[in-house]
Structure formats: structure tokens, C-alpha cells
Amino acid sequence: MAFAAQGLPRLPVPISASSRPNRRRPSTTTSLSASLQPNLPSSSSSPQNPPPKSKSLLPSSQTLILSATATAATATLLCGGGGGGGLFGGGGSGGGGGGGFWSRFFSAPMAVAKDDEEPGRDWDSHGLPANIVVQLAKLSGLKRYRVSEVLFFDRRRRSTTSATTGDTFFEMVSLQPGGTYRKADLLRELESLATCGMFEKVDMDAKTKPDGTLGVTISFVEATWQSADSFRCINVGLMQQTKPAEADPDMTEKEKMEYFRGQEREYRRRIERSRPCLLPIPVNREIVRMLREQGAVSARLLQRIRDRVQKWYHDEGYLCAMVVNFGNLNTREVVCEVVEGDITQLSIQFQDKLGNVCEGNTQLGLVRRELPKQLRQGHVFNMEAGKLALKNLNSLGLFSNIEVNPRQDEKNEGGIILEVKLKEVEPKSTEVSTEWSLVPGRNGRPTLASIQPGGTVSFEHRNIYGLNRSINGTVSSNNLLNPQDDLSFKLEYVHPYLDGLYNPRNRTGRVSCFNNRKLSPVFVGGPGVDDVPAIWVDRVGLKATIAEAYTRQSKFTYGIVAEEITTRDETSSICTNGSRALPTGGLSMDGPPTTLSGTGIDRVAFLQANITRDNTKFINGATVGERNIFQVDQGLFAGSKYPFFNRHQLSVTRFIPLKTVEEGAGKPPPPVLILHGRYGGCVGDLPSYDAFTLGGPYSVRGYNMGELGACRNILELAGELRVPVKGTQVYVFAEHGNDLGSSKNVKGNPTEFFRRAGQGSSYGAGIKVGMARFEYACDHNAGTGAWFCRFGDRF
């Protein structure tokens, strides 16, 4: 007794893979898609040629394609219909049926209109009186019948079901109401139903309809076996399928007994040889309960068991797992044979632009390093591991298209060949962008002189030697007519895998040369002082660092920085001291010195180290966890006035969820309490541009940048409570910043010179809308409040 069943067509399952935002990569809009495609044999193309009985164990080879097209935003996993197929073999023990295996293949919609007939009517009327029951054998072999109705008639239950009411058996039948079939098709259908193992007896009648179509009734007696009370799931992946010895129909009773015993022995050996499967005991128990409730084991029950087992596997991401057989029927124990999708081979391929396989520039070791080891040979394929691989490879930024594609291994039964197909991006790219800037003039209208052409030229050479080393550079100016005014550049060489591709240590070397210009927050007036002439701090320097990544977020960076700092006033001329407007209208030019050397130009080289511990993660969109950052700059007596200093800061942030919530898409995030503390200090030479400043959106909200002071030691404390409200976030916060009396220890005491308080608190509330924060913050020093709109998170 045996039967075959076809797996349920799977529905498209959307998944999403997060990807980092497009970081200045030229071209390629991004989409990440993954699909499970039925890789159907040729027979699926025509209903005229129904598939011959396939001998393959896995009725349909399914192809699961995970692909990413460059830096993607969303990913979709489509699991195409007609995917899995099941195959049931009744391993008889007593006098039951033989242990034969039948298989059967169904391709989804079989009925396709023929196009050699005149359009509109592509089928023949049955030509018989209406409403008579005709045996299949009596139908004409030449006509093409239209089947308008398919009914199932359970002889045991004496009930009729139609395709619309649904029965688990309907998935067995390829006949579609409305399809056109020849007699041979119908006979073949009947034969395949008879051999699938689900039915003890099955028959097919046709009922003529007045409109010339046929109604097909399949009457059957469901196959049943003796009741069982235990269940066992075995992993038969990569095992040779046992070929049942042909049972000679002319065997004597004794020979038959001998034959069945032999079969039984063999099956027991097979069970012993099989590997343990992943199906957990709770699910096993659930199935045992199903068996016990049912009594006799019926084909429908086996179908349900198969669905349950496959559902667990698929829910857990083992998309290549499937139930291939039920054995040991007619005993107390039902044995479910599963292939889980063992990876037998990992093949990495590169494709050119047209999708042809080509030799890649990237070294294979690099790709292998980024693949989780669960995708290597000998592991069970899991969708999540595939997604992780996709994410890792995508984050390299080297590939415009990534496919992770499990394919059935023809040589190993139940094996999976994992294909990773990569399309490389062009290693060299240059980009030029230009922009116009205009500044409103006196009456709010832009003047002609303020129109300035600006632009950026950038180039990148990625993946040098196929090792993801890269050189990139940017030169930009806001005014191309006078580029010397504010030409900024950055040139960087990145050398990943410093310890070699095969060393698990992940260190990246970076050498960069840069310049930048920033408005100094040290030379900023306090509340009563307006119009403090701005001081610009220009830095030109060279930086060489080594970053060791411990996790995706935690890392230790250390290196050396050599830079030249020039302080300039608004007219771009070098200035040595800050200035303040005097009540007389003049400027006092004897403010705090801007540089250590006193000349307006400092050169300094120092060591820099930064260690970040970040174990934050997102729970339904809310950040939860801890983040500690410690950074130290250590002077080396190298530079103007031989500076020797130790400048350090430690920031500690805790994101404490106030409620445990269930994770999942669409679920609300938990309310989060954030506690933040930051200490900074400097011992030794401290030029004003390196002083810590208090106030600003990332220091003490409600004040302007540097409004509270510039000091040698700093302490910031902040608390924030974030509560999700209707898909957005509402928060309240309180912050305090203090110079710990260290302002006077900065040369020239810029805090006092610009009449700043040296400390301050603020509190307020806000709402997050997308990336933007709208908040009302109360300045505690002045007792007034104001609305602010900021982008990005404070913490």
C-alpha cells in the first residue's frame, strides 16, 4: 500500500532584510529579493503531456533564490507554488502493503488552452445526453473534454466534497474545473491517484452536463492502517533510497512472509542508520497526541502530520526540508522520513553584467569569510543563515547583485548545493557633483554676488587585489570661483583583514589625510553677549588607525594623528586670540588664545585610542542595551610647544526597557528609560580648540552649542523617557552639564571671558516624527523655553 502526495503550494512570504542606508554609492537603486522558484521539469509546460511518473525522490527540485541587488532597502522572499512534493510509502509490517515507493509529480495548472483550434471554443462537447453517468472507459479517446466540476466522493463516509469546499485530497488532483482534458489525461490521472498510496480504492466517473461539459466524480476509499501511539521522525538526508525488491506475484505464502520480513529488517536497519533530526520533542509530542486522538492511521492523518512537520521546518527557516516518506505503517510507531536539506557543496560564482559566469576579482576566501559557517558543507540549510550571508556580503559593498541559491544536488539524494552568485560592482568610480548656493541678502532677496557654484569631486577604487582594500578621495568646495577659500579634501586608504583572510581576528587599517573647517564652539557668547566674532578652526592632518572589530558594533580603534590646526577669524585671516565686542563698540582683541603656541597655528601629533562597547539592539524599533565609549588622546611632546597632554572622555549610556514586549513586526516597542553620563577631562596642555564645550543638541539640550562654557573637565548627566504613542515616540528629558569648576583652568578662561555660566540644566519634552525630533526645551539658567527641531537621535 503506498501513496504519493503533493505538497501544498506555498504562499509568497515577504521577509525584510535591513540594509544600511545608501552611503554615497553611485548608481544602483536597491532592491533585495529572494524567491523560491519551482524549477519545473519540461513536462510542466503542456497539459497534453502530463509528467511521466518521475523516479526522482524529490518530486520537484525547488530553487530558493535569495538575491540582493546592491545596497538594498527591502527584501522579499517569494516561495513559488508547486514547490514541495511529498511521497509516502507504507512500510508494511504485518500483512500490509509492500514498502514500495511511488512518486508523482504535479505541475500546478495543467489545463492550458490549445491554440490550434478556433479561438473561443477550444474543447469538444461530449455529445451525449445530459445528466448521465459515463464510465471513463466509455469516453471517446479523440475528444477534448471540458471538465466543469471535480467532486470527491468518500465511499466510507458517503459524502461528497467539491473543490470549493476543500478537502486535503484535492491537492492530489491536478484536474482543474474549467480545464480541458483528453481521455488519456483522465486515465492517467486516475492511475496516478490509484498509485499514490492515499487510497485503498479509487475510481473516476464522468457525468455529462447539459452544456456539453463533464463533471468528474472521484470516488474513493481512504487508505487506513492500524492505529499507532508513537511517532518518530528520522533524517534520511544523503542516504541511499532503498529500492524495494520486486515482489514476485507468484510467491508462495512462505516466500511472501520471508519477503516481508526481509523488508522489515531492512527498514529497521535504515532507521538505525539515519541521523537524528532537528524536529524538537514538543512537536513530536503534539503529533503523538494527534495519532492517539485519531485511532486508526488514515491517509488524511498522515497528510496532516506531514503538514505539521513541514510547517515546523519551514517556520524555522529550513526551507529545503521536506517529508519524503512515511514508513513502518501498520505498527505501533509511525516513522516519518525527512530530508532536511543538508548542504553538500558550497559553490561561489561570479557573474558578469549579462549574468554569465565569469572569473571574479574578489578573492573567494573573502566571500567565504563573510558567509556564516552554517552555510558550509555538512550543515543544514537555513533561510536565516542565508539572509545573514546576504546581509554580510551586502555590507561589503562590493557586489551589485547577490544571490544565495540552494539547488538540489542531483548526485546526493536530499542534498543541497548552495550557490552563491555574485555580480561585482565596477571597482573604480568617479563622481562629480555641482551645486549652486545662494544666500539671502539684506532684504531677504539673494544678491547676484552670493550665487556661488560649489562642487564635489570624488573617486573610489574598491576591492584592490580582490581583498576589499580601497582608496577613496573627495575634494569639495563651496565656491569653485575661489576654491582656495574652503577647499576641503579627504583621501583614505582602507586595508581590511590586516591579520590575513583566514585569521578570525578582524582588524582594519586605515590611513587618511583630511582637512576640515569647523566653527569653534569655544568662542561663543553667553546669554547676555551677542555677536561674538566667530573663530574657525581649520585642521589639516594625517591619521593612521587600526580598528579591531569585536562584534558588529563593538570595536577598539587606535592610531596616531598628526595635524596642523589653524584658527581663523571671519575674514579667513589667522587670528591668535578670541575677541569680544566692547560696550564702546570696539573689539577687545585680547581674549583667550586660540592656539597653544599663541601664533594661530599649532602642529601636533598624538596617539588616539577609542574603545566602544555597544550591545544595543532594536526591539520593535526601540533601542535597548548599553553603550560605553572611552576615548583618549595622548600627547607625545611632538608639535608646537612640545605639547604633552592626556585628554580623555568616557560616556556611558543605558537604554532600559521598562516592559518586556513580544518581538515581531508591527508590535509596539517598549517604553525605554535612557540614562546617560559623560565625563571628560584633560591633564596637561590644552589648547582652546580641544577644550570640552557645554551646551548644544548633543550635550545639554535647550542651549546653543557651547553656550554654557568651555572647560577642562566636564560632566554631563541626562535622563530621557521614551514612550511609544501611536506608532511614533514621545519623550521627556532632563539634562545637566557642569564644568566642575574647571573653566578657569583653560587658558584665558573663555567661559568667563564670554560671560558664560559654566553649568546649566534643561528639561523638556518632544515628539519624534520620522527622523526628525520636535522638542520643547526649557533652559534652566534663564528659565525660558524654546522649540527645537533636530535630526537624528540625541543618544
Binding site: E316, T551, H648
Partner: protein, 312 residues
């Protein structure tokens, strides 16, 4: 600036004989104590009568004085010698501007005083104003920050416009006591001198009346309403302060620049670095390792590692 020639103190002859005698007596006394020169720094808010006081002491009109305008923007040194004794008086501009202490003016004064020794600080204030405010404190603070607390051991509070008729209900002595107390209190607070220390080394208060209409006594000396001839009295106070055992203030580069915060603690940097590396960085690294160990891996990964044991 310091190149001003030391001239003969001729102005002393302008004083009445009685005053001259007293002054010469005091100078002789100082000489006996091996003090051959005296540098007096006169400071105070603008318009309180600093320059007039200088003129009065020297007995000549050295500093230009006008009733409605403050003039000098720079400190001026007047040197006079008499019988082998040199008297230097440094007149300074008022250091208040627009309700704040003008750091610039303070800076100029400090630079002027570079490499000079201050024997006496005359902090000039008016007797006839009734109130002290935050501004006074700021001035005191600026002086203290510039020259250190020690300068007040050499300080004399001078109250000008001493010839006044006090408000109703107060007699002159009471008014003087009240006013001087108030000023001294401000000095104590501004200079952040401890109360006890302040009481032990009280800052003397001297009264001055620079007006030409100042009353004179029989011998022609200018006298205050309480009958004291103020010039000898002031010089007397000064000599007392000079010989009170405290050290004169030598203004050097270090004093002008203040303590260099950049130099502080430098020798500890190697220790700090060691602490940062061995405690902070290693500590955080250990936490990261713990995070990695504690990280809850997805179930499929655990199953793959054979840790599931069919329980999930």
C-alpha cells in the same frame, strides 16, 4: 614706562611745617628699618579720587585731575626721593567699564607692574557713598586674582571725600565705622579671605580729603571733621603696614600669567595612561567579551551547534 626719572620730592615743602616734620619723622623711621624705597599702588573704581589722592600725598599736581572726566587709561608711576628715600606711587586707571571689570585694563596694569615690587596697595573708595554692590566685589576679586590674596596684607583701604556731614541721626564716627565696615566686608568677600584670618590681620582704613576746601588746623594741616590731620595719619598707617611683617608683592611673569593650568599634573600623565589602559580599556574589553558570550544566538544557530538536544 619705568624710565621715569626719579625727581627730588620738592612737593613735600608745600606741606605745612608740622606735616613735614611728621613725614620726615616717619621716613626716618622707615629708613631705620632698612626700607629705602616704598612703592604704593593705588587702585579702585573710576572717579573715586585715586589721582587726587596721589596728588595730595606728593604735594604736587602730578596727575591731571578733572571733575567730570576720568582721563588716564594707562598707569603712571611717580617717583620722588628725599633724603635718600624713594617714594614711588603708581596711579592706575579705573578698572570698571560698562558694569564689568575691564580685563583689558587689569591686564595693562599687570604688565605695567611687571618686575616691580608693591609695598603698599591703596584701595580707594569713597566715604560718602552709602552702598556697596556686586561691582565692588568684582573689583576686589580682580585685584586678588591678579596679585594674590597676599596683597591685602599690604593693603590699606582709603576712603576719600572724608569731609562730609553724615546723614541725619548719625554722628561722623558712627558713619565712618559703618562705612568702613561695609567696605571691609566687601574686601573680605571679594578676596575670599577667611573671617578669622581677616580679623587677625585687619586691613587698616584711612580717610582722605583731597578737596582744596579741606579744613585746616592751627598749623595749617588739612584736618578731617574729627580733627585728625589726614596726611601724616595716612603715611603713618602706611608705615605701620610696611612694618607689619608681611612680604611685599613682587610682580613677576608668573604672577601676571597666573598659575599655568597647562602645566598642572603633567607628571602624572604616565600614571593616568597606565590606569586608562589597564583599568578602563581592559575593563571595557572584558565587558565586550562578556557580551559576546552572553549574546543570545538564534535558535537555528544553536541547533547547528548541536546545543538544542531536540528541546526546541
Amino acid at each position: 614706562m619705568a624710565s621715569q626719572v626719579t625727581r627730588e620730592w620738592s612737593g613735600i615743602q608745600q606741606f605745612p611745617v608740622a606735616t613735614q616734620t611728621k613725614l620726615l619723622e616717619l621716613l626716618a623711621k622707615l629708613r631705620n628699618d632698612n626700607v629705602n624705597s616704598l612703592t604704593i599702588l593705588v587702585m579702585g573704581k573710576g572717579g573715586v579720587g585715586k589721582s587726587s589722592t596721589v596728588n595730595s600725598i606728593l604735594g604736587e599736581r602730578v596727575a591731571p585731575v578733572s571733575a567730570f572726566q576720568s582721563e588716564g587709561l594707562r598707569p603712571v608711576l611717580y617717583s620722588r626721593s628725599r633724603a635718600g628715600f624713594t617714594l614711588n606711587i603708581i596711579d592706575t586707571p579705573g578698572i570698571i567699564e560698562g558694569g564689568y571689570v575691564n580685563e583689558h585694563a587689569v591686564e595693562v596694569i599687570k604688565r605695567f607692574l611687571l618686575n616691580k615690587t608693591i609695598d603698599i596697595l591703596l584701595y580707594v573708595e569713597r566715604l560718602d557713598s552709602y552702598r556697596v554692590d556686586n561691582l565692588d566685589r568684582q573689583v576686589i576679586k580682580a585685584i586678588t586674582d591678579s596679585f594674590g590674596k597676599g596683597i591685602w596684607r599690604r593693603g590699606v583701604v582709603v576712603l576719600t571725600h572724608a569731609q562730609l556731614s553724615p546723614p541725619d541721626g548719625l554722628n561722623y564716627e558712627d558713619f565712618f565705622t559703618k562705612r568702613s565696615e561695609a567696605v571691609l566686608r566687601v574686601v573680605r568677600l571679594g578676596a575670599r579671605i577667611k573671617r578669622q584670618e581677616f580679623q587677625e590681620n585687619a586691613i587698616p582704613v584711612a580717610l582722605v580729603e583731597n578737596s582744596g576746601r579741606c579744613n585746616t588746623n592751627d598749623s595749617g594741616e588739612k584736618v578731617l571733621p574729627n580733627g585728625i590731620a589726614w596726611i601724616p595719619s595716612l603715611v603713618n598707617t602706611i608705615t605701620e603696614v610696611v612694618s607689619n611683617g608681611s612680604k611685599p608683592i613682587f610682580v613677576d611673569k608668573k604672577l601676571i600669567d597666573g598659575p599655568n593650568p597647562n602645566a598642572w599634573g603633567k607628571i602624572w600623565i604616565p600614571l593616568i595612561v597606565a590606569f586608562q589602559y589597564f583599568v578602563v580599556i581592559k575593563g571595557i574589553r572584558k565587558q565586550i567579551k562578556e557580551d559576546i558570550a552572553r549574546d543570545d544566538r538564534p535558535l537555528w544557530e544553536l541547533r547547528d551547534l548541536g546545543l538544542a538536544d531536540r528541546n526546541f
